[in-house]
């Protein structure tokens, strides 16, 4: 019976101009965002780094180092995410300081501020708005015109009728919301696609549930529209903006500026002391022609010793900073649970591979690789050796294996959204019990 009512509702919706416009806008936005996304994902290529000119161990291991490039995110075409905030590459050296050199992210700040017109944007903001646009008049219009009485004079329950209406609308928007992203990211791993799809479905469920609850209040269609517009504004726009303001004030991230000054102070003595010892040599321009191989060896040892001292002192400052940063981020992340849009955004970015987790995973892999790199090259650098072609070829190679645990990590928030959505839908149907004809 519900399937029949759903089909009937489709027939009605198909003749409705507003619904036709809504579907056209939604489809066009999804397709356009997908096309932009596919083009963006393709543009994220790598560039060739020059070959070493000198075969000195120091030149190979440190000056050139290893350029680790993060492969394009599995579903980069769906969500640009933080890919314009964190550069997708790292330079690894065999030294103690500047072991991992993060490059500059050169995305235009205005572009970062403007955000992306990507599929995630369409899903997060437009999708709920359009859910409301076709759901503000579930039963109010039919009740006011009288068709609802005609229908309920038949052997059918109000909740079946409402279920038919909700399902028809959910499918109408849900199908493009699910299908188009899958087409745009068809080469992504199935578990990621499944997680993405589940998140979209759960997110949609929440908004359909809210629409249902508002409709069950029995107001007229115009009031429903205003109330729903207000809820969308509050949950999707003002809520996240206000939560971000509270996070900024209540849990401010530790200051990078202060940390830079602290790092400077902590390493001042070691730097000055080390430089004085190194001063006998041409600190940054030692060549075998002016100091000889033995001199180069001594230079390398002194430099390594200085760097080790600096690194030790830096580590204390950096660890303190990182710990505080993580603490603040953890506290802040609790607040985002208040907005479904914030939760969904987190899940979509993580699933797409453009959230923070993948960058952290990549950095961790780079750190492990740095240890290998250092173990291989450090003795040769200290020996001021000149490397053979074989030695260079046998150097450790970096092979990034994508994080597969992400789908497990996002399972909890997806389940949370699904439960919240199911509860809202259930509450909506329950409040329809007292619906006055």
């Amino acid at each position: 019976m519900i399937a029949f009512l759903t089909r009937h509702e489709w027939k009605l919706l198909a003749t409705n101009d507003v619904v036709r416009i809504v579907i056209a806008v939604f489809g066009a936005a999804l397709v356009f965002a997908s096309l932009l996304g596919v083009a963006r994902a393709r543009a994220e290529d790598t560039a060739a780094i020059p070959a070493p000119r000198s075969m000195r161990a120091d030149a190979i291991a440190n000056e050139r180092g290893a350029m680790l490039v993060m492969p394009a995110a599995p579903m980069a075409s769906l969500a640009a995410g933080q890919s314009d905030v964190y550069p997708g590459y790292l330079k690894v050296t065999a030294r103690n300081v500047d072991a991992l050199v993060t490059g500059d992210q050169v995305a235009h700040p205005l572009a970062v501020a403007s955000g992306h017109f990507d599929v995630a944007f369409v899903i997060l903001f437009l999708y709920p708005l359009l859910v409301f646009a076709i759901s503000f008049d579930l039963t109010a219009g039919e009740r006011d015109r009288g068709t609802l009485r005609m229908v309920l004079a038949q052997p059918v329950g109000l909740r079946d009728v409402v279920a038919g209406k909700v399902i028809a609308r959910a499918v109408l928007l849900g199908v493009p919301a699910i299908i188009i992203p899958i087409l745009a990211a068809s080469n992504a791993a199935p578990p990621r696609l499944a997680a993405w799809t589940a998140a979209v479905v759960a997110y949609g469920l929440i908004w359909h549930g809210i629409a249902l609850i508002v409709n069950a209040r029995g107001w007229n269609a115009a009031t429903n529209a205003l109330v729903l517009a207000g809820i969308w504004l509050l949950f999707a726009i003002v809520g996240p903006a206000t939560i971000n303001l509270i996070i900024d004030l209540r849990y401010p991230m530790p200051s990078r500026v202060t940390a830079a000054v602290q790092a400077r102070a902590a390493t001042q003595e070691a730097t000055v002391q080390g430089n004085r010892e190194l001063g006998q040599f041409l600190q940054d321009h030692p060549t075998s022609s002016n100091v000889g191989r033995e001199g180069m060896r001594q230079f390398a040892m002194l430099q390594a010793a200085r760097d080790r001292q600096i690194a030790e002192r830096l580590q204390a400052v950096e660890t303190a900073f990182e710990q505080q940063l993580q603490r603040q981020q953890r506290l802040a992340s609790w607040l985002s649970v208040l907005s479904p849009t914030m939760v969904a955004q987190g899940v979509l970015l993580e699933t797409a591979g453009t959230g923070r987790t993948r960058f952290e995973h990549f950095n961790a892999a780079a750190s492990r690789f740095q240890a290998e790199w250092k173990a291989y090259f450090e003795p040769r650098v200290l020996d001021a050796a000149t490397l053979t072609a074989d030695e260079v070829r046998d150097a450790p190679k970096f092979n990034y294996v994508d994080d597969t645990s992400v789908t497990g990590q996002v399972a909890t928030p997806i389940a949370g959204m699904a439960i919240a959505g199911a509860v809202l839908v259930w509450l909506g149907f329950r409040s329809y019990r007292g619906y006055q004809l």
Binding site: T46, A47, I49, P50, R53, Q82, Y86, P87, G88, Y89, G103, D104, V106, A107, H108, P109, L110, V112, A113, S114, H116, L124, L129, A225, A229, G230, L233, V238, A241, N244, L245, I247, L249, P252, R256, V257, A260, V261, R264, A265, Q268, T271, N275, R276, G279, Q280, L282, Q283, D284, H285, T287, S289, L325, S333, S336, T341, M342, Q345, G346, G355
Partner: protein, 472 residues
């Protein structure tokens, strides 16, 4: 009731109706609270950051002076931090501040972009936007304007009161003025106290640099927000006069609002990027590295200088010449030129994208107003490029001071040469003066014209809609 012009009677009636509507009072109250929260939050955040930067800059200067005796070139490697001064009006519109690095490290041989953009440390959810006074003024106030104007004519038509109203012999002109005033009065009730609170916060929460002239910039901001609100008032009245019903008017205005506030910024940027691509992070680095790779290595460079020395090139300028110092100074000059060129290219790519973005934003009054708001607050990319240029000039000034000391030392083994505080003091502290309001506006002339144009279009559309208004 005293007799007055008809438009006043209409305005008072509309304002009274609106004010008696509980929904309006809720919305206006909430908006006022949000505005005050945004202003208070912005001011607190801004003064905290400003204090951190001022403290850091002072500590950095002490560290520079107290770093002890060392070789001048080692001092160049020691480097200097330059912290970005925080603009007083960033409390109203932080603009691009969260997306720009907070300090530049100036050192020998290498040049970097400003580092540590606050967005890197924030959660990805931060990308969903921050409640700032500028967002409230440019996104939330238009929404309130929409809710105040969508029913102005369409509502009277739906109720059937438009026909009798027009039958009373009121000129359509005074009807329009009355409706506009009727919509603006309740809005002003929200905006004036908020503007006063904002002014109080900005003036009592002055950052480290109390001499920074902000009067003209603050006044400009107020004008921009007012003009933007007026554009939406005109648009709201025009749509209301022509729409089939008030529901249709509301839908059209909400769609316009959503497109202006949320769709236009990323769309304009997508167009700008498509038309004027900028390099990826990897490409940018690789371009510099590849060029450096073509240079002679250090030994060759020294050898070549030696050859030139033997040819007698330096006899008149440097005696006794130190070949390696000459090589060092020359390589430093090459590097500076290389980085300057690449940064200039990158910045001109940015500027090109901004220009296209600004041209696209002509179709959106909200985007034009946002560009102007950032410019006046001193937080747009043009201001950032000014700062970066100043930091670059300071870097070459610092390196020149240190290297020429090395060259002029007259020592054979210059790397043994050690200097102290007296030389460090010769490098002046970094002092950056933000350009004035006139400069800021001159960078965004097309946005000024766009906003002014929209104001004119909205006014004309509202007036024109009076004569073509549907009565039924």
């Amino acid at each position: 009731m005293t007799r007055g012009p008809a438009f006043l009677a209409i305005a008072v009636k509309d304002a009274t109706e609106t004010w008696r509507d509980g929904r309006f009072r809720w919305a206006a109250g909430l908006l006022f609270l949000l505005l005050v929260a945004a202003i208070a939050g912005g001011a607190q955040h801004q003064s905290r950051i400003a204090q951190q930067h001022a403290d850091a800059q002072a500590a950095e200067r002490d560290a520079w002076l107290d770093k002890g005796d060392m070789n001048p070139h080692a001092a160049a490697h020691y480097g200097a931090f330059v912290f970005k001064p925080v603009q007083p009006l960033s409390a109203i519109d932080p603009g691009l501040d969260p997306f720009l690095g907070v300090f530049v490290f100036l050192e020998a041989h290498k040049q970097q972009l400003a580092r540590h953009r606050p967005i890197e440390d924030a959660a990805p959810t931060r990308r969903l936007g921050l409640l700032t006074p500028a967002t409230a003024a440019l996104v939330l106030i238009p929404l309130l304007v929409v809710s105040l104007t969508f029913s102005s004519f369409a509502g009277e038509r739906d109720q059937g009161t438009l026909r009798p109203l027009l039958a009373l012999g009121i000129s359509r002109w005074s009807l329009l003025v009355g409706k506009a005033l009727g919509a603006m009065l309740p809005l002003i009730v929200v905006m004036i106290p908020a503007a006063i609170v904002a002014a109080a916060f900005v003036f009592f929460n002055r950052p480290a640099d109390p001499d920074a002239p902000i009067g003209a910039r603050a006044f400009g901001l107020l004008l921009v927000y007012l003009a933007h609100a007026l554009v939406w008032t005109g648009a709201g009245l025009a749509v209301s006069a022509r729409a089939r019903s008030q529901a249709a008017a509301l839908v059209v205005l909400l769609a316009l609002w959503f497109a202006n506030a949320f769709v236009m910024p990323p769309l304009a940027m997508a167009i700008a990027k498509g038309m004027s691509p900028s390099p990826s992070a990897m490409q940018f680095t690789a371009a510099i590295e590849n060029e450096k790779a073509k240079w002679p290595d250090w030994d060759t460079r020294v050898d070549r200088v030696m050859e030139r020395f033997l040819d007698g090139e330096f006899e008149s300028t440097m005696a006794p010449a130190n070949v390696e110092v000459v090589a060092l100074i020359e390589s430093e000059a090459d590097e500076t030129a290389l980085y300057d060129r690449h940064f200039a290219e990158l910045f001109s790519a940015y500027a090109g994208q901004t220009e296209i973005y600004e041209q696209v934003s002509i179709v959106s009054p909200t985007l034009a107003a946002r560009m102007l708001s950032m410019a006046l607050a001193g937080t747009d990319d043009a201001h950032d490029r000014e700062f970066a240029a100043a930091a670059g000039r300071y870097r070459s000034q610092m390196l020149t001071t240190l290297n020429s000391e090395l060259a002029g030392s007259g020592r054979l083994n210059t790397f043994d040469y050690v200097r102290g505080r007296d030389l460090w003091e010769k490098v002046p502290p970094f002092d950056y003066e933000v350009p004035g309001a006139a400069w800021a506006v001159s960078q965004r002339l097309s946005s000024v014209f766009a906003l002014a144009g929209w104001l004119a279009i909205a006014a004309v559309a509202a007036v024109a809609s009076m004569s073509s208004m549907k009565v039924e």
